[in-house]
Assembly symmetry: C2
Homo-oligomer: 229 residues x 2
């Protein structure tokens, strides 16, 4: 393992208040790992022996139901902590984390968690902010699923994705990792057929462009309007 640079961590919220030496210590305790696209970082129900920081890529957090259906609960963008079961005093991971595209993550043994919380000022606050954000996101998911139609849910899901992991390209803003119709359906509680039909019709109206595993939003504003009604 080659030596990690301090500039990796210093701009990230959980570590932004720390000095050079502290960051050095943290990095020296870290294990870095490359995760290939589609591979799992950890599995639902497994003992939470480590917690992670995503340096690059996107992680998809997925739950599998008793009858084998997949439901995506959130996407984690680069720069965020994940697998932080300890923060919720859980001993096992509540869901499976899978790389949506090739990803790079640091990790530390969970035994260091309490250490991080007490030693590094701002670490606890920032992680709980993340927890709070995720709670908020799940909450809006529940509300959307209770009150809105499929079209609006999908529109909003796409907008959320580009706001979190969007990349400006010529035709608009694209989702920066490969994503299929099926993936979108698992995020929104629908079927891939319905997603396909909607994307086709949106493409006809110039709202989006899509190739295989790739979605580009050409007209976010118009899509946002669709997401309300």
């Amino acid at each position: 393992m080659h030596k990690l640079d301090e500039s990796l961590l210093s701009p990230l919220p959980p570590f932004s208040k720390l000095g050079k030496t502290q960051i050095r210590t943290i990095l020296d305790q870290a294990t870095s790992r490359r995760i290939e696209s589609g591979a799992a970082v950890f599995h639902e129900g497994a003992l939470a022996e480590r917690f992670f920081l995503l340096l690059d890529g996107t992680i998809r957090v997925v739950k599998t139901t008793a009858d084998g259906e997949q439901v995506t609960s959130i996407h984690i963008p680069a720069g965020q902590l994940f697998g932080i079961a300890k923060a919720l005093s859980r001993t096992t991971y509540p869901a499976t984390a899978r790389a949506a595209s090739e990803a790079l993550a640091l990790s530390w043994p969970t035994t260091l968690w309490d250490n991080f919380v007490t030693e590094y000022s701002g670490f606890a606050t920032e992680t709980y902010k993340t927890v709070g954000d995720r709670l908020g996101e799940l909450n809006t998911r529940v509300i959307e699923m209770s009150t809105q139609h499929v079209e609006q849910r999908i529109a909003r899901a796409l907008l959320r994705l580009i706001s979190q992991s969007g990349r400006q390209v010529e035709q608009g803003i694209e989702i920066s990792f490969p994503i299929t119709r099926k993936d979108v359906s698992e995020m929104t509680g629908t079927t891939l057929q319905t997603v396909s039909r909607l994307l086709s019709s949106w493409e006809k109206n110039g709202l989006v462009t899509s190739k295989r595993k790739k979605i580009i939003i050409c007209n976010p504003h118009q899509l946002a309007i669709l997401g309300e009604a």
Copy 2:
């Protein structure tokens, strides 16, 4: 305000590790308040100036959508903390808390939060366990809404209610606070008509009994089976 007894807090998880004097101090800083049925304890978006402990009754946490629809995100049973925006480093309450029946709560100014966390061992851990549980509950809500039919969602919602706030009565287990068809529909993302139809049909099969604002589960086991399929 009459003096509060220490035995109120000592059995509750967030305070269970504390000594008599510590509990005395905590109680002396508390304000106690009776909330009449249907009244709000705090409103969505309001500044989170206090955090609460529910001593008696049940709190319904509700969000209102832009177009005026209500969605219930969770119910809080007696003995739990709520309004703990500070734990998620939020400055405002994310939802409205309303008494489902007459309720009694203690509260403290949010400024004391950090104090509680550092002074009282186990307080932080226990509150984050609560946060974790609520995250888990929202997660299963999302999964249920994505993968299950109305009948199963309602069955499970009722089972969750009795496991959390159930009271043994002659005919079975009743939900210990007044609850209407509309309330159930707001918990499950359906309509009161559908809830009414299902309850009627379940009543025909002896699964439940219900009067106005009252639901009794006569056969939890059978209902659990319905909740799967």
